[in-house]
Subunit: 317 residues, 2 copies
């Protein structure tokens, strides 16, 4: 393991001036609905609206001045793209973001808002990767992968660390899993800062590659069918070994369960979360008997959802 | 004035065990959009989802045991109905709520959830008042008016007091005005706890009775045409004199401006507010040049909105 307690502490110190220390909220209605005591770490209130601000900032701040001078690059159509563009803007360097030409205009605007330079490509993983290789060749920029990067993982680990500092004796911490950046960071954070807390992942049923990978012991491909569009990625070769060693289990939830959990949070907590962010609560509700009366931490990963889309999802229109 | 500094301090102490001390949030995007520094006191996270929990609780706790034993009553189709039912449940007494038969089912469920007893009537002010008189005659319950009641006003005053404690040197505090409970409470709180802070009300253009009452010096009737359905009431004979003496001005906003402000809060702050709650920000945005670089407090009054309705309003569907 390349990440130890000190790595995470240093990451936290490094990024603190640039991120929010997000609040931990509780809700009596949700405690009643789940039968346990739930502590929500609200990364939907984080800069760029998602925990991704942490990992991107830590990775950017870990580069040498020479590397930074040539800029940073990634392919992403999600929250990492904005997080990286923001980190580059803060550091006064260039961000090169490869995005599929089909990415929603709102995501592109978000990146341009931080003066990130967008390179459009065909909407395939192959096109994204080859375009990124070209961009890096041309610019000399350093790639910062959305999750398969130890500095990114250490950055994401700072969110659960803050939760562990504030709420003691959690029996369980539940986080969503896509590529596994937040999940591996949380597993390491628990191991070093709250070793009695079990780490459990919530995953969409329609993209249950982490669930299957945990069973088979190797990285399984994703099928990618879910409304939780932030969680359709396959695990990486840096995140999987950490997850396989330290995560207790993966609980999957259906899209209908995810929408119900999302709506519960909107209505009862009066806060906005994106579909991917609702997955751990959906998993908890699905298996709530097992967690009865326990102290459960949930990282609310992000709140970036198009309101039109949210309306359609929650009202079946 | 029947309310002094001590009245408000005692109200605060009295209700503290039963209410949330709600957080104060800021947003860089909204500071950029308004050109000033805005501090949002988030009463949308309050018990029952609105500041009304404060006034109802204070009024109920101010009754004698003999009065309480016979129950408390009101006519309301809004947040006050739930707040009063909740106060009664906490105190182990009956709540009798007169509601128009046309009130949304969700509001009735909210009241029943706190075991409040609902009396339905025709949807006119006259029917509501005469039904309430009957109910009180039959039960001996004490009426707790939604706003025209000094204990309610003192209870609402505790929300701005918390904001003043946390954020010093506010140039302005902006709150919505309907019947004037929160506004008169805020005016008194500012006078006693932050006398250099100007108090300004936000009001829907289509129901601008407070605006006209301030000009004419007497209570003007409301016309009641706005999506801000919590603010359609006329001022009361207890709230108006306080408002007329202590409030600097009323700024009105159109429904389109209210929807824009509501959407801004949902999208940028990731929190859910109801249309009435967006009015002060709409008023600030409308006249933002006048507030440039000032420190502005806004009380976010509540978050009880039907999601379908809200999303339809904001997406024009």
């Amino acid at each position: 393991m390349n990440i130890n307690r000190t790595t995470i502490e240093q990451a936290h110190e490094r990024i603190s001036p640039y991120i929010h220390r997000t609040p931990v909220l509780t809700s009596q209605s949700i405690n009643e609905a789940t039968g346990c005591q739930v502590f929500f770490k609200c990364e939907n209130f984080q800069k760029v609206g998602a925990f991704k601000a942490r990992g991107a900032m830590n990775a950017a701040l870990s580069l040498t001045p020479e590397q930074l001078a040539k800029g940073i690059a990634t392919h992403s159509s999600g929250n990492h793209a904005q997080a990286l563009a923001r980190a580059a803007k803060i550091l006064g360097v260039k961000a090169y973001i490869v995005m599929p030409r089909t990415a929603p205009e709102i995501k592109k605007r978000g990146v341009r808002g931080y003066r990130g330079e967008i390179f459009e490509c065909e909407p395939t993983l192959q096109a994204r990767e080859s375009t990124l290789v070209e961009v890096i060749k041309k610019t000399g920029a350093t790639e910062i992968h959305p999750f398969n990067n130890y500095e990114v993982i250490a950055g994401q680990a700072t969110a659960p660390v803050e939760l562990f500092e504030e709420i003691k004796n959690l029996d369980v911490i539940l986080v969503p899993v896509g590529g596994g950046g937040l999940l591996s960071g949380t597993a390491l954070a628990a191991a070093y800062f709250s070793p009695t807390t079990k780490v459990i992942a919530g995953e969409p049923e329609g993209s249950d590659d982490a669930y299957r990978s945990m069973k088979s012991g190797k990285i399984e491909p994703a099928q990618s069918q879910s409304i939780a569009d932030g969680l359709l990625t396959t695990l990486g070769n840096k995140t999987f070994p950490i997850i396989h060693e330290l995560v207790s289990e993966v609980i999957t939830a259906s899209d209908a369960q995810i929408i119900d959990a999302m709506r519960l949070v909107w209505e009862r907590m009066k806060i906005i979360i994106e579909p991917s962010c609702a997955v751990p609560l959906a998993s908890l509700l699905k298996e709530k008997e097992r967690f009865k009366d326990q102290r459960v931490g949930i990282i609310l990963s992000g709140g970036n959802v198009d309101l039109e889309r949210a309306l359609k999802l929650m009202t079946n229109q």
